[in-house]
């Protein structure tokens, strides 16, 4: 296999098409590994990966951990609740201490945008961003793209709409950057208060009417609504949100075409998406989870074996 041009995977902003292509293609190979009776290859034997999670995300952490173990890496998990962060140690101290224990790759989830950028310029390990604030979540976007490609064969020219709280999502920017690089047409849809300032300048269409958005789309990526923000600053109630922006079978049928449905999970059934849709024939929500492991294996492999 050839090699990536990037040293770290901090986001998909600026990542060249060749790199994304390589990661998606490699995921095919790793997906095959996952189907074998013995789901393990020695690719990262002798390498140590630390999963540095300053925010709870059981799903993403388990997906990474499985990917790491299936590549035969040594895995250390570090979560903030048991860390010295609560004792006042800075992120940089924490990272330098972990690095002093000779790790090769750091997979980091953090509540602050740019936390990975910050550490990658001050530490020597390879960094993989597992979500930084409302900035990026590149492996999620890669697995979304991979799942779309699996279904449609190619991303080129496909119309993909991200629906929901775009402004507070770490998935939307990564998807926008990655999909556009791969030649898809990208739109977003949500209440105007949940769409970041001047987003259209990134070359995406903006819908505030979900039915119009569905008529545009070949693929929709439905984002989770943060239940804890019900009746918060940006929207009045979950009921109203569901009525106006929720993805229902009725709405999909009215669009009059077979729209592929993605969701980065975990799903709030009956809020952003109806169960009938989530479990329906056009949903790729469960395959996405499997693909997530394959994509993360591809990322870990390419980042972990890349020479300086």
């Amino acid at each position: 296999m050839s090699s990536l041009s990037i040293q770290h995977l901090l986001g998909l902003d600026g990542v060249p098409r060749e790199d994304i292509q390589l990661l998606l293609d490699s995921a095919d190979t790793f997906l095959e590994v996952l189907d074998r009776p013995i789901k393990k290859v020695p690719t990262l034997q002798g390498k140590t990966v630390v999963n540095l999670f300053f925010e709870n995300s059981t799903r993403t952490r388990i997906s990474f951990e499985l990917a790491e173990r299936r590549l035969s890496a040594d895995v250390v998990n570090f979560s903030a609740s048991t860390s010295s962060v609560s004792k006042g140690e800075t992120l940089l101290d924490t990272a330098r201490n972990i690095e002093a224990m000779k790790v090769d790759i750091v997979v980091m989830r953090h509540a602050a945008a740019g936390a990975g950028h910050f550490l990658s310029t001050r530490c020597t390990s390879k960094f993989i961003n597992a979500g930084d604030g409302t900035h990026e979540h590149p492996t999620q976007a890669l697995l979304d793209m991979y799942s779309i490609r699996q279904k449609h064969g190619s991303l080129e020219g496909l119309r993909v709409c991200i629906i929901g709280d775009i402004a507070h999502s770490r998935v939307s920017l990564s998807n926008i950057y990655g999909l556009k690089t791969m030649g898809a047409e990208v739109a977003v849809c949500g209440p105007a208060s949940m769409i970041p300032w001047q987003l259209e300048k990134l070359g995406v269409r903006v819908f505030t009417n979900v039915d119009e958005a569905l008529r545009f789309s070949d693929v929709i990526n439905v984002l989770r609504i943060q239940l804890e923000r019900d009746a918060g600053a940006d929207f009045p109630s979950l009921r109203e949100y569901h009525n106006s922006f929720g993805i229902t079978r009725k709405r999909l049928e009215a669009a009059g075409k077979d729209i592929t449905v993605l969701h980065p999970g975990p799903i709030n059934r009956g809020v952003e998406i109806e169960s009938e849709v989530a479990d329906g024939p056009y949903s790729v929500i469960l395959p996405e989870v499997t693909n997530g492991v394959a994509i993360r294996m591809a990322v870990l492999y390419h980042i972990g074996t890349k020479a300086e």
């Binding site: 902003d13 945008a113 740019g114 910050f118 604030g133 900035h135 970041p196 300032w197 987003l199 990134l202």
Partner: protein, 424 residues
């Protein structure tokens, strides 16, 4: 006191209108003689050929962190930083710990600054504890030496409190200096809301946070006939509102910080917390509006908002880093590079913004370079090119985004209170 003979300096004084090569003899801190081809055999002679003497600069917006956070800066190190930047006077914002909301703290600051070459003036808090709820003992604070009132670091947001403060301050003939920020719009934000914030995912602060408060405050200023000074103006909208207020003849003044006329929020793409300040760096359009405001007099003063923070406080995730950068030692170089060389301001205009206007706003004596006047000088090299190195700073802190930047125009030091302080 010693005598000093500044030989062959370019003396620029916007107040007297002087701009020419002169010899200046200072005896016992007073300008004894000023003229051409003077000689003074028993004075210490400084060859100032090619160098400039201007009326001492006054930075009307600094944070010296004493009392309370002396590890970031104290009055002594702050004054040394001011002198290195060519400033002979500074006005200290009251967000110390405890804040300058009572006479004792104001007195302490004046006491600490006694005998220094740099004059240090306290600014009193508008409200008790800077909590924004009820006004501080403003008469007492004024009597103990405060030159203005501000809750800087926080806005005076409560409209009833604002009105009372404007009335009290106008009775005392000093301005209320407003940190214009709507707390609801500001909350949680880390940078200017722009295409950049959208692209890099940092929580945004809209320009409306500044604009709306300024517009509101001007209505209050007109109503009570108060004196209002807008601190660290940063948006085109605020500049427009101030321009309009001035045209209506209101007693409204404003200042711009060097970073707001020399940097845009594009710099934030690095996630470098040395670019994190409040108000945040805005867009190219706003930077242009600040230059225009300085040129047409909408902005009266250049003030640094010198805000020292320790390295460990800034070396964290961007959103967790404190707002603020230091500015005393780069202010002149940035002003020359961005404003003078590009033709936005003439040298006398630039000196007005750095010396004369801030003193007028604070009601301090305006410096004139004339025989019989106290010698209060900024000593400058307008042509010097230099590379900013934070390790050379006299400030205790290093939080400057200008490290490594090449500037034209270097302060050589100051002369004030009979003391000559030269860099290097």
């Amino acid at each position: 006191m010693a005598s000093y003979f500044f030989k062959n300096a370019r003396v620029v004084d916007p107040v007297t209108g002087l701009d020419g090569d002169r010899d200046v003899l200072v005896v016992n801190g007073i300008i004894d003689r000023i003229g051409e081809n003077l000689s003074a055999s028993d004075a210490q002679t400084l060859d100032f050929t090619g160098k400039t003497i201007a009326p001492g600069f006054c930075d009307m917006h600094v944070h010296f962190r004493e009392p309370g956070q002396e590890y970031k800066e104290d009055i002594l190190s702050g004054a040394a930083s001011a002198a290195a930047g060519g400033f002979t006077a500074v006005a200290c914002m009251p967000n110390t710990d405890p804040p300058i909301d009572n006479a004792a703290v104001a007195t302490l600051i004046l006491k600490r600054a006694e005998g220094l070459a740099v004059d240090v003036y306290p600014i009193g808090a508008v409200t008790k504890g800077r909590k924004g709820e009820s006004i501080a003992p403003m008469i007492e604070l004024r009597e103990s030496g405060c030159v203005a009132f501000s809750d800087d670091g926080s806005p005076v947001y409560n409209t009833k409190v604002l009105r009372t403060a404007l009335e009290y301050a106008s009775m005392l003939d000093v301005p209320v200096i407003q940190h214009a920020e709507d707390p609801h719009l500001f909350k949680g934000g880390a940078m200017n809301e722009s295409l950049v914030s959208t692209q890099i995912g940092l929580p945004p602060i809209s320009r409306l946070s500044e604009d709306t408060v300024v517009v509101r405050d001007i209505a209050f200023t007109a109503y009570v006939d108060g004196r209002y000074h807008l601190a660290h103006m940063s948006t085109a909208g605020a500049a427009e509102a101030v321009r309009d207020a001035k045209q209506r003849g209101l007693k409204v003044t404003s200042e711009v910080a060097p970073h707001h006329f020399s940097l845009t929020d594009e710099a934030l793409r690095s996630y470098d917390s040395n670019y994190k300040m409040n108000p945040p760096l805005r867009t190219a359009e706003d930077v242009l509006a600040m230059k225009e405001a300085l040129r047409d007099g909408t902005a009266d003063a250049i003030a640094t908002d010198h805000a020292p923070h320790a390295i460990h406080e800034k070396e964290v995730e961007f959103v967790y880093a404190p707002f603020g950068i230091i500015g005393l030692e780069t202010a002149f170089g940035l002003s020359v590079t961005e404003l003078l060389l590009d033709g936005w301001l003439t040298l006398p205009q630039l000196i007005e913004k750095l010396s004369t206007n801030p003193r007028r706003i604070l009601g301090l004596p305006v410096i004139r370079i004339e025989e019989g006047q106290p010698a209060n000088f900024s000593l400058l090299d307008l042509a010097a090119q230099w590379t900013v190195d934070v390790n050379d700073f006299r400030s205790k802190s290093r939080n400057s985004p200008f490290h490594g930047r090449v500037l034209t125009g270097k302060p050589l030091g100051i002369f004030n209170n009979g003391q000559l302080i030269l860099n290097n």
